[in-house]
C-alpha cells in the first residue's frame, strides 16, 4: 500500500516534469523569476520571525515589494502564454511594457513607504 503510494507519487512527479519540460523557455524564465521573488520574500519573513518586526514599515515594504513583483510577473506570464486564447491579440511586447510600468509604480510606492 505504502509502496504503491510512493510509486504513484513518483509517477505523478515524473508526469508533471515531463509536461513542464514542454513549456516554452520564456515562460520558464518568468517562473524562475517568480520563484526568486517568492524566495526573497520568504527569507525576509524568516528574518522577521527571528528578530521581530520593529521597523514594521520597512519589513512590509520589503515583503510587499517581492510579493508585488511576483504577482505582476504571474500576470505577465498569463498574458504572454500563447495557449491563453483570451490574450491572443495582445503582443507579448505590450504585456512586457505593462509589466515594466506597473513595477515602476509599485516601487515608487514601496520606496515612499520604506522610511
Amino acid at each position: 500500500m505504502v509502496r504503491s503510494t510512493g510509486n504513484d507519487a513518483q509517477a505523478l512527479f515524473h508526469a508533471l516534469r515531463s509536461a513542464y519540460a514542454a513549456t516554452p523557455t520564456n515562460l520558464k524564465i518568468i517562473d524562475l523569476f517568480v520563484g526568486f521573488a517568492v524566495c526573497t520574500a520568504l527569507i525576509q519573513v524568516a528574518y522577521m520571525a527571528i528578530v521581530g518586526s520593529f521597523p514594521f514599515n520597512s519589513f512590509l515594504s520589503g515583503v510587499l515589494s517581492c510579493i508585488g513583483t511576483a504577482v505582476l510577473a504571474v500576470c505577465l506570464r498569463i498574458q504572454v502564454n500563447k495557449e491563453n486564447k483570451e490574450f491572443k491579440d495582445l503582443a507579448p511586447e505590450r504585456a512586457f511594457a505593462d509589466f515594466v510600468l506597473c513595477n515602476l509604480v509599485l516601487h515608487l510606492v514601496i520606496m515612499n513607504f520604506l522610511g
Binding site: T25, I29, F36, I43, L104, M111, N112
Partner: protein, 697 residues
C-alpha cells in the same frame, strides 16, 4: 440667605459697572515727588558733568531748570562748559553736536569767545543751505536761533529765509504729518513736531517778515495734525505714529512731546492766534501728567519739558484740578479740599470752584449737593468745602467740580476743561448692635443656649452642639445716619483644631445680618471632625472705619463617627510653595527598540542574494540568451537607452529613499518617464515587428 447673597452680588455688579462708566481719573500737577525723583534719575557720572553726551547733559539741566532745582547743582557747570566750548571749537562737530552744545550753553551760559561763535555761525549758515533732510534743517536752524538768543546779535539772519521755509514746507503731507527727507516716502507724526520747530526758527531768523499765506497754510497743517490726535478714556489726548516701524519706534510719549514742542514754538513766533481746541490742549496736559513719574531719564525729560511748553504757551494754558485726598471721614470731619494749579504746580489766577453736584455712585440721579461754591483759603491756595451736608452718609460718591475764572479776559488764556468728575469715598464708623450667637434645637428651633457678643471688644464664648442642632449668629449694622449698611465682606470662619478652615458668607436682610449653620447638612463638609472649632467673624468695607476680624470663641461639636468612605480633608498647602518654583520636570524619552545583532542582519542580507544567484544559475541552465537584442545601429541604441532609462528610474528611487523629497522625485520621474515611454515604445515596437516578420516568414 441664598437670595441675600444673590442680591448682594447683583448690587456689587451694579457698583462695578457704574464705576467703570464713570471712569474719572484725577491728575496731579508736578510736585516735590517729581523733584526728588529727578535728583535720583539725573546724577553726575563723569567728574561733575552729567554724561559723556551733551544731549543727556542738556536733558538733565533742562529738567532741573524747569523744576527749579538747578541751583543745587553748581558743580556740574565747569566740566560741561569745557565740553561745550570744545564742541564749538572743533571743526569736525556736526550740526547735531552744535545744536546740543548750544542748548546746554543756553542754560549754563558758558564763557565762550565771540569769535568762536562767528565761525560756528558761518558753518551753520552753510549747513542750512546744504541741508537735505528735515533733521539737518532742524539742528542747524535750532543752533542758529539759540546762538542768536545767547549772543544777542541782532544782525544774525538766515540768508534766504523764504527759500528755507519753502524747502521745509515741501516735506509736509496733506494730513498734517511730515516726511524726514524728500527721498523717504514714509510720513511721521514726530517729524511734524521737528518741522514746526524748525519753521518757528526760520520765522524768528528771517530778516524780513515771512509771507503770511505760508504761515497760514502751516497753521492749517497744524489743525489737520490735531485731527489725527488719539484719546484715552480718562480724557487724555496724545499723538502716536500711524505706521509703527519697529526699528525706531519712539512711543506716544516722545511723539506727543515732539509735536507739543513744535506747535508751541510755532505758536510763539507766528503772528495771529492759533485756534486749537482747548480741550485737546488740556487733554495733552492730562496725558503727560497721567504718566506719573517715569523711571527713564529720557521719558522724564520729555514729560517735564512738554509740560513746561504747555505751562507758558500762547494758545491756552491748561489748569488742572486736583484733590489732595479723595477720602473724607465723617468721624474726623475732614474738609473737602480742592486745588487748582497749572501743570507745573504754580498757582492759578483768581477763580472760583463750584461743586456742581455730588451723587452716590450706587444710586443714579439722586444728587445730595448741588451748586455750592467752595471757599478759597488764600494761605494754602486751596478751595475748601468745610461742612458736608447733613444727608451725606458713608459710601462712594462722584463729585462734579467746575472751575470758573473771574476775569473774562483770562478765559482766552486758560483752559479749565469744563466739569471734572472725581470719585470720593466718605468713610465713617458703622454701629454694630444686637450681636448674639445661639445654639438651636433642630426640630422646633427652640433656643438652647444664647450668648450676647460685644463685637467691639473681646469675646470668648464657649458653646457645645451636636449634629442635630444648629448654630445661629446674628448682628445689625447701621450707618452713622441710621441706614442699613451692607459691607463688602461679612464672613464667618470656623477653624478646627487640625487647622482645617470653613468659610461661610453671612447674608443680610435690611440691617439684620444672620447666618444659621445646620450641622446635619454640614457633616460631610466638616469631614466628620468632632472637637473644638474656633469661630472668627470678619466684617469689612472700604468705607467702614471700624472694619474688624474678631475671634468670637469656640464651639465644641459632637459629630457622628465617620463611615468608611468618608472624604478626607485636603492637605494644607503652604502658601509660599504655591508661588515658588515647581519641581523640575524630568523628560521621559521612549527607549529605543531592541535591535538584532549586526552579524545576524548581515547574514540575512547575504541570504537574500541567494535566490538571486539561484535565479541567475537557473537562467544559465535554461539557456537564456540575448539573441533577440537588436543588432542594427538605431534600434540597438534605443534598446540600450531603454535599459539605461529603467536603471535611471531605479537609481532615482534609491536616491528618493536616501535623501530626495517626494516633489523633487516626482518632477524628475515625470521627465524620465516621458523619455522611457518614448524609447520603450520604439524598442518594443521594433521587437514586435521583428517577431511578426519571423512568424510570417
Amino acid at each position: 440667605m441664598g437670595r441675600g447673597n444673590l442680591g448682594g452680588g447683583f448690587a456689587l455688579l451694579i457698583l462695578v459697572v457704574s464705576s467703570i462708566y464713570q471712569a474719572a481719573a484725577i491728575f496731579h500737577p508736578i510736585s516735590d515727588s517729581h523733584r526728588s525723583a529727578a535728583l535720583d534719575l539725573f546724577t553726575p557720572v563723569h567728574h561733575g558733568s552729567f554724561s559723556s553726551s551733551l544731549e543727556e547733559a542738556y536733558e538733565a539741566l533742562r529738567t532741573f531748570e524747569i523744576l527749579g532745582i538747578i541751583e543745587n547743582k553748581p558743580d556740574v557747570g565747569a566740566a560741561t562748559c569745557h565740553t561745550v566750548s570744545e564742541t564749538f571749537r572743533s571743526t569736525s562737530s556736526t550740526s547735531k553736536d552744535l545744536y546740543h552744545a548750544s542748548k546746554v550753553n543756553s542754560i549754563l551760559k558758558c564763557d565762550v569767545d565771540s569769535k568762536v561763535f562767528e565761525g560756528v555761525v558761518s558753518r551753520l549758515q552753510a549747513a542750512v543751505s546744504d541741508a537735505g533732510s528735515l533733521l539737518d534743517f532742524y539742528y542747524s536752524i535750532g543752533s542758529l536761533v539759540l546762538i542768536k538768543d545767547r549772543t544777542s546779535k541782532e544782525d544774525l539772519h538766515l540768508v534766504d529765509a523764504e527759500g528755507v521755509f519753502h524747502s521745509i514746507k515741501a516735506l509736509s503731507q496733506s494730513d498734517g504729518r511730515w516726511r524726514y527727507s524728500s527721498n523717504n516716502p514714509e510720513s511721521s507724526t514726530s517729524a511734524a513736531g521737528f518741522a514746526l520747530e524748525a519753521l518757528a526758527g526760520v520765522v524768528s531768523l528771517a530778516s524780513s517778515e515771512i509771507d503770511q499765506s505760508m504761515i497760514g497754510t502751516t497753521k492749517s497743517d497744524i489743525l489737520k495734525l490735531f485731527d489725527s490726535i488719539e484719546k484715552y478714556d480718562d480724557g487724555a489726548f496724545y499723538f502716536d505714529e500711524k505706521v509703527v516701524d519697529a526699528s525706531d519706534h519712539q512711543g506716544p510719549l516722545s511723539t506727543t512731546s515732539s509735536v507739543v514742542r513744535g506747535v508751541m514754538a510755532f505758536a510763539a513766533v507766528a503772528s495771529g492766534s492759533l485756534n486749537l481746541p482747548g480741550d485737546k490742549i488740556l487733554g495733552l496736559a492730562k496725558f503727560f501728567l497721567g504718566i506719573g513719574i517715569p523711571g527713564d531719564a529720557k521719558d522724564f525729560f520729555n514729560q517735564v519739558n512738554s509740560l513746561a511748553c504747555l505751562e507758558s504757551n500762547r494758545v491756552s494754558v491748561p489748569l488742572i484740578l486736583s484733590l489732595p485726598a479723595t477720602v473724607l471721614s465723617l468721624t474726623k470731619k475732614t474738609p473737602l479740599e480742592v486745588r487748582v494749579n497749572t501743570v507745573l504746580g504754580s498757582n492759578a489766577p483768581p477763580l472760583s470752584v463750584n461743586l456742581v453736584r455730588a451723587s452716590n455712585s450706587g444710586s443714579k440721579g439722586a444728587s445730595i449737593i448741588e451748586n455750592q461754591e467752595l471757599k478759597f483759603d488764600p494761605e494754602n491756595a486751596v478751595y475748601i468745602l468745610d461742612v458736608l451736608p447733613k444727608g451725606v452718609d458713608v459710601g462712594k460718591y462722584v463729585f462734579v467740580f467746575e472751575v470758573v475764572l473771574h476775569d473774562s479776559e483770562l478765559k482766552k488764556v486758560y483752559v479749565t476743561g469744563g466739569q471734572t468728575q472725581v470719585p470720593i469715598f466718605v468713610t465713617g464708623v458703622i454701629k454694630i448692635d444686637n450681636a448674639e450667637v445661639a445654639v438651636l434645637d433642630s426640630d422646633l428651633g427652640n433656643i438652647e443656649i444664647q450668648k450676647k457678643l460685644d463685637l467691639a471688644g473681646e469675646n470668648a464664648v464657649s458653646l457645645s452642639a451636636n449634629h442635630l442642632e444648629k448654630l445661629r449668629l446674628s448682628f445689625q449694622l447701621t450707618t452713622p445716619l441710621g441706614h442699613a449698611f451692607k459691607p463688602h465682606q461679612a464672613i464667618l470662619k470656623l477653624i478646627h483644631e487640625t487647622k482645617v478652615e470653613h468659610i461661610f458668607m453671612v447674608g443680610s436682610s435690611g440691617k439684620q445680618f444672620e447666618i444659621v449653620l445646620d450641622f446635619l447638612g454640614l457633616i460631610e463638609k466638616f469631614f466628620y471632625f468632632s472637637g473644638k472649632y474656633d469661630m472668627q467673624l470678619i466684617v469689612g468695607d472700604a468705607v467702614m472705619e471700624n472694619s474688624f476680624l474678631q475671634a468670637l470663641g469656640n464651639v465644641e461639636l459632637d459629630l457622628p463617627e465617620p463611615p468608611e468612605k468618608a472624604p478626607r480633608p485636603p492637605l494644607p498647602v503652604d502658601p509660599y510653595s504655591r508661588y515658588g518654583p515647581k519641581a523640575e520636570i524630568s523628560h521621559i524619552f521612549r527607549s529605543p527598540e531592541k535591535r538584532p545583532a549586526k552579524e545576524l542582519s548581515l547574514a540575512f542580507l547575504g541570504l537574500t542574494f541567494l535566490p538571486f544567484i539561484g535565479f541567475l544559475v537557473g537562467l544559465l541552465r535554461l539557456g537564456a540568451n540575448l539573441k533577440n537584442f537588436p543588432t542594427s545601429a538605431v534600434p540597438a541604441t534605443f534598446a540600450i537607452l531603454f535599459q539605461l532609462g529603467i536603471a535611471a528610474v531605479l537609481l532615482l528611487y534609491a536616491l528618493f529613499w536616501l535623501k530626495l523629497d517626494l516633489f523633487t522625485t516626482l518632477r524628475t520621474l515625470g521627465f524620465l518617464g516621458a523619455f522611457l515611454m518614448f524609447v520603450g515604445h520604439r524598442t518594443l515596437s521594433h521587437l514586435a515587428a521583428t517577431s511578426a516578420k519571423l512568424k510570417s516568414a
